[in-house]
């Protein structure tokens, strides 16, 4: 659709300034001609040109450049690239516009979104359970029975399952230590091993010299489990032969980088583009149960939770090649147990 440019104040102001500049230049040119012919007032003419250049420079630095930055931020917001960009503009168009943006920010109250995404994560983890508490008690009972019957493997599995449920549903904290999150993954792995047997192999890699330090860093609860679950069900389950699942942890001075890799079936370029686009979009459409889902909700949910908690510079990116495998790279700020972090939200 073609837009009427004069409908917008920006266009009107641009044209007005361009007209003023043209008039001033014309005036300067005429003045220069007179000054050259009469061979006087040259200093004044030069001062006029200098004034024009200074005005142009000021216009560029104070008005045009910030305006372009604002337009870009608004454009990226509209195309779904960024959400924070809208709220972190260096200059505002007017006080009213600033208030309006602030109001939008309030409407999109991030706390509510965080809680929504967290609930979504829990829902995803437990969606197949009818009544988790009932199941948890029942599992404890089964464990007791199997132990008395000498069926240690069943008891071990039951224990893993109940620990997994306890971690998933209990506690209201947003952040947990990496140690706890990995313990949950190991429980989840034990449960899945009963199903997949030797086909499933998990390895966790990190700098062993700094183990205690690395394990004490915090991350949002249930960050890894949905991604590991995806890797197993959408990747490894569909291949013939040994499935390798690797969690690699790297720590830099500002970031915690966790890469979950599998050698599963991978995905097509179109599918990867679709998921990456949703990872970059920062929309919360997937929470709406009426919206038709095409999978990949868990990763998008984890990504949005990270972005809402720590800012847009953190989150998930995914690499995948069909018949090769998938790598999910999670970038988080370094957060100590006491909540001190390297991020500025």
């Amino acid at each position: 659709m073609k837009r009427k440019k004069f409908k917008y104040l920006s266009s009107r102001v641009t044209w007005l300034i361009a007209a003023c500049a043209a008039c001033f230049l014309l005036y300067l040119a005429a003045w220069t001609a007179v000054a050259v012919r009469e061979e006087r007032h040259m200093a004044l003419v030069l001062a006029g040109f200098f004034l024009f250049a200074a005005a142009a420079a000021v216009f560029w630095r104070w008005i045009r450049r910030p305006y372009l930055e604002n337009s870009r931020a608004l454009r990226l917001f509209c195309t779904g690239y960024t959400m924070n960009g809208l709220f972190s503009q260096r200059t505002a168009l007017s006080p009213e516009m600033e208030d309006a943006v602030r109001k939008i920010q309030e409407i999109m109250n991030t706390d509510k979104l965080i809680s929504a995404t967290k609930k979504q994560a829990q829902y995803l983890a437990l969606q197949n359970q009818i009544n988790p508490h009932f199941l948890y008690n029942a599992l404890e009972g089964i464990r007791g029975e199997t132990l008395s019957a000498g069926l240690e493997s069943v008891a071990k599995m039951t224990e893993a399952l109940s620990t997994f449920f306890r971690y998933t549903i209990s506690g209201s904290e947003n952040l947990v230590t990496l140690e706890d999150e990995l313990a949950n993954i190991r429980n989840y792995y034990i449960i899945q091993r009963y199903r997949f047997g030797e086909k499933l192999n998990l390895s966790v890699e990190y700098d062993a010299d700094h183990e205690s330090e690395i394990m004490s860093y915090c991350l949002p609860k249930l960050t890894l489990q949905p991604i590991v679950e995806n890797a197993i069900y959408h990747g490894i389950e569909r291949i013939i032969g040994e499935g390798r699942l690797r969690i690699k942890i790297e720590v830099t001075t500002r970031r915690l980088i966790i890469t979950v890799s599998d050698n599963g079936i991978g995905m097509t370029e179109e599918r990867l583009r679709e998921i990456n686009s949703r990872l970059g979009d920062m929309t919360l459409d997937y929470i709406n149960p009426e919206k038709e889902s095409h999978g990949g909700i868990a990763v998008v949910n984890v990504n949005n939770r990270i972005k809402l908690l720590f800012g847009e510079e953190y989150g998930i990116c995914m690499y995948s090649t069909q018949n090769v495998g998938t790598d999910v790279e999670i970038t988080l700020p370094l957060i100590q147990k006491d909540g001190r972090g390297t991020y500025e939200k």
Binding site: G280, T321, V324
Partner: protein
């Protein structure tokens, strides 16, 4: 705890409406050699430009030394502390090594410069690193490898934190490449980071700590050192290389088609080797010293000091060499799409050019042109009718050069480093084009400084070392070079 020297996060850039970098992610730690294997050329140039300077981007963030230096909201256009080493040196050729290293750098404000002090400083520095470069040497007199060292030293002196090494194996010899790798490792131990860009994973496997695979400006996979296995790379190459015909070892016919007999020039020290008719032979110059001379001897711009070249059973004199095309000798330069295309001529005129040259520069008749047009339209499609070759794709330009050579009906073709600088898809295309020449019975000689994909198509490999013949390998012995390139 690691330090990230460079972090590119979801970087997206456009150029002329085309996506150059597509949600591009890359992070390089301090003291790390990060490989970037580019399956095609798309985005490579933009990436290097963006690493050097904080130019505007459509989306994403760039951090340099843990500081946000560029993002989609504001691009300050400031330079980063990055040095780029590529095929073409960035040194000032007419200045000395010490001038390039010490004088041409940011923040030098001295009016009086003591050459002796600079040379001494450089000597102290290089002796500690075990490098043999003299400060007083003119850069123009240095070999490409020595220039690389000077560029590295300059980067170190200027306090650059990241060095981008781009497609360097095309310009330095295999032996020098090993030395350069050792040097890069040494510098990395001192805290320098390296982004090693190349088109061949085998090359990257030897030097890198991690490798990112890029296609169309997008990262496909990041491999750790433990994953540096050819089988991990096959899925990315298979689409292009899996339909290559498996080659059988060939037995030598004994017929010497071209032979060098004890040839001596300034760089050749009694060079003797022979090439059989119809074969494809790789001349691998380990030290990168004699290839230019071989080409110069064959095109007549150089006369041997002693020794003899025998071609088709007769002595190949300088006089004959000056009319190489008429004597059935053709040449294809390195990067022929740049140097062997006449931009002002149409496709057909370009294609017929060599025939005209062969006919004592007489113009090609209209009737013959029509025949050629008809014959080659089946091979190259509508490109043949193209009046302006500037708009053609790179594979089409290569088609033009190779078909033009075939049309000239040569007995032997010298393809100078055919795979240099070519991305994976172009390399695959070149294999087909060279295969076509072989099927036409043309003898192909490929002077190279690295093996790259030459082994896929070669029947014989001749190693040249220190200006002399060193060793010869038949196809059934190519497995010895498995780590160097793709071998079928």
């Amino acid at each position: 705890m690691k330090n990230e020297i460079l972090r590119m996060d979801q970087v997206t850039t456009f150029q002329d409406g085309l996506t150059m970098l597509d949600h591009f992610n890359l992070h390089i730690f301090k003291g790390e050699i990060m490989g970037l294997v580019c399956l095609n050329e798309n985005g490579k140039e933009s990436l290097i430009r963006l690493i050097r300077q904080n130019a505007p981007i459509h989306y994403g963030r760039v951090y340099f030394d843990e500081t946000l230096v560029n993002n989609y909201q504001h691009s300050p256009m400031t330079p980063n502390r990055v040095a780029v080493i590529e095929q073409k040196s960035r040194l000032v050729e007419d200045l000395t090594v010490s001038d390039n290293i010490f004088v041409l750098r940011r923040g030098v404000k001295k009016f009086v410069i003591s050459r002796r002090v600079l040379n001494e400083q450089l000597r102290l520095f290089t002796s500690r690193l075990g490098i043999a470069v003299s400060g007083g040497d003119l850069v123009a007199n240095l070999s490409r490898y020595e220039k690389c060292i000077v560029e590295l030293l300059r980067a170190l002196m200027m306090g650059e934190k990241l060095v981008v090494v781009r497609d360097i194996s095309n310009s330095v010899s295999a032996a020098d490449l090993i030395n350069l790798h050792c040097l890069l490792r040494l510098f990395c131990l001192n805290g320098l980071s390296v982004l090693y860009i190349c088109s061949h994973h085998e090359e990257a496997f030897k030097i890198c700590d991690r490798i990112s695979l890029m296609r169309d400006g997008k990262i496909l996979k990041v491999l750790d050192r433990g994953e540096f296995l050819p089988e991990n790379m096959l899925p990315f190459y298979s689409k292009s290389f899996d339909n290559l015909p498996k080659k059988e070892p060939v037995s030598r016919t004994g017929e010497e088609f071209l032979s060098f007999r004890d040839v001596r020039t300034e760089t050749m020290d009694g060079m003797s080797f022979s090439v059989a008719k119809g074969e494809c032979t790789v001349l691998l110059d380990i030290d990168n010293t004699v290839l230019r001379d071989i080409m110069a001897l064959m095109n007549g711009s150089l006369k041997p000091e002693s020794g003899e070249i025998i071609f088709c059973g007769a002595s190949y004199t300088q006089r004959m060499a000056r009319r190489a095309a008429a004597n059935g000798v053709a040449f294809i330069d390195e990067n022929p799409a740049k140097s062997m295309i006449f931009k002002d001529m149409s496709y057909l005129e370009n294609l017929c050019f060599l025939i005209g040259e062969k006919q004592n520069r007489l113009p090609v008749g209209k009737r013959m042109k029509r025949h050629i047009e008809k014959e080659y339209a089946a091979l190259v499609g509508n490109d043949i009718y193209e009046p302006n070759v500037k708009g053609l794709s790179l594979p089409s330009l290569y088609d033009l050069v190779y078909y033009r050579t075939v049309l000239g009906n040569p007995k032997i073709v010298f393809c100078m480093q055919p795979f240099a600088g070519a991305d994976m898809y172009l390399r695959r295309h070149l294999i087909d084009l060279i295969g076509l020449m072989k099927r036409k019975g043309i003898t192909v000689v490929m002077p190279s400084v690295n093996l790259a994909d030459s082994m896929v198509i070669a029947d014989r490999l001749i190693l040249l070392k220190k200006g002399r013949f060193s060793q010869e390998y038949d196809r059934d012995e190519f497995y010895l070079f498995r780590s160097e390139g793709i071998i079928l």
